[in-house]
Symmetry: C2
Subunit: 167 residues, 2 copies
DNA sequence: TTCGCTGTACCGACCGGACGGTACAGTCAT
DNA sequence: ATGACTGTACCGTCCGGTCGGTACAGCGAA
């Protein structure tokens, strides 16, 4: 589907070159579509970013759900580490979208809603512990994107296990 | 000092309105200088962002140092929570600078170096625990900026105590 | 003391180019 | 042949950066 290809291209561009290279023509070219074609699917740059945000949020929600087995925090950790331990380009997508949405306060509103939901979601067990674990997972995500290579695979596995043990 | 005022204006603009409003003229106007005056102090937009990054990194390093009393992770937590519990505009500065630097891979290189240093810094006690605690602090920072109001003052205090207890 | 000179701080008009967005003609599967 | 979709030429705006200039403080020589 063309729409999905455009979204992929936008993310890839953002991950590899940053927001400065995130222009409509560049996205279109990367997606193998003309600028007109891009604008047919997303009627403005803002609409494109919104779609990026929506996809990111729903994909992560789906990842949590697929890892769920009684504990939200556990699912959060497993979903996060599965992504972070994989392709760096995939890890970077979250930040890429966040930075793109940072152009305007209105654009990051849906992200704000999602973050609040992710971190206040009720959970079995102790609430503070559950929140703490999710926060650490968030930190892992951030550091793995900002400074890839900080943790090797083994350290990542240790961190993950330690987090799961806390719950 | 004019230079400092410009840096402050740039951060405030970024925090309040996002990267879209971060233009040389807007920063200049906010700082009460002309565009020419701004460019006298920072010879390009990139130079301005670099200065923003440098100030951010050195200020946080100083905050860690001032809280240090034997444990790096403890100092990291205390420095982070002190900032996060304060003015939201100050909390937002970190992200503001990060998003500004996200325009270009080269611009965020110094940030990458700083993040790696912050999260691989040797510490007393168990290394994995120390890293975990720092990651959670990073998560607190992120969530408090992305979704302010997620935690009230009491919950913030509980999270902080729990983190300190882990060390 | 005043004259010329230098360096620092700052100003604001202006330019080239890039960007988001529009218009519209074309194309191709059904 | 119609409607979903694509390609391209083009437009107006805005942005980063340049540049010629002003103001003024200091300073050494005559």
């Amino acid at each position: 589907m063309t729409r999905g290809r455009i979204l992929d291209a936008a993310e890839a561009l953002l991950v590899e070159q940053g927001t400065g290279a995130f222009t409509l023509s560049a996205v279109a070219e990367r997606a193998g579509v003309s600028k007109g074609g891009l604008l047919y699917h997303f009627k403005s740059k803002e609409a494109l970013v919104q779609a990026l945000v929506e996809r990111l949020v729903s994909e992560f929600d789906a990842a949590i759900e697929s890892h769920f087995e009684g504990s939200y925090a556990r699912a959060y950790v497993n979903a996060t580490f599965e992504i972070v331990a994989g392709d760096p380009a995939v890890t970077g997508r979250r930040w890429a979208v966040v930075t793109a949405a940072a152009t305007d306060a209105g654009m990051s509103e849906p992200l704000r809603v999602a973050f609040r939901r992710w971190h206040t979601h009720p959970d079995s067990g102790d609430e503070v512990t559950s929140q703490l674990v999710r926060l650490a997972a968030e930190g892992v995500w951030e550091v793995c994107h900002m400074a890839p290579g900080t943790y090797d695979a083994q350290r990542l596995a240790e961190l993950r296990q330690r987090l799961l043990d806390l719950i």
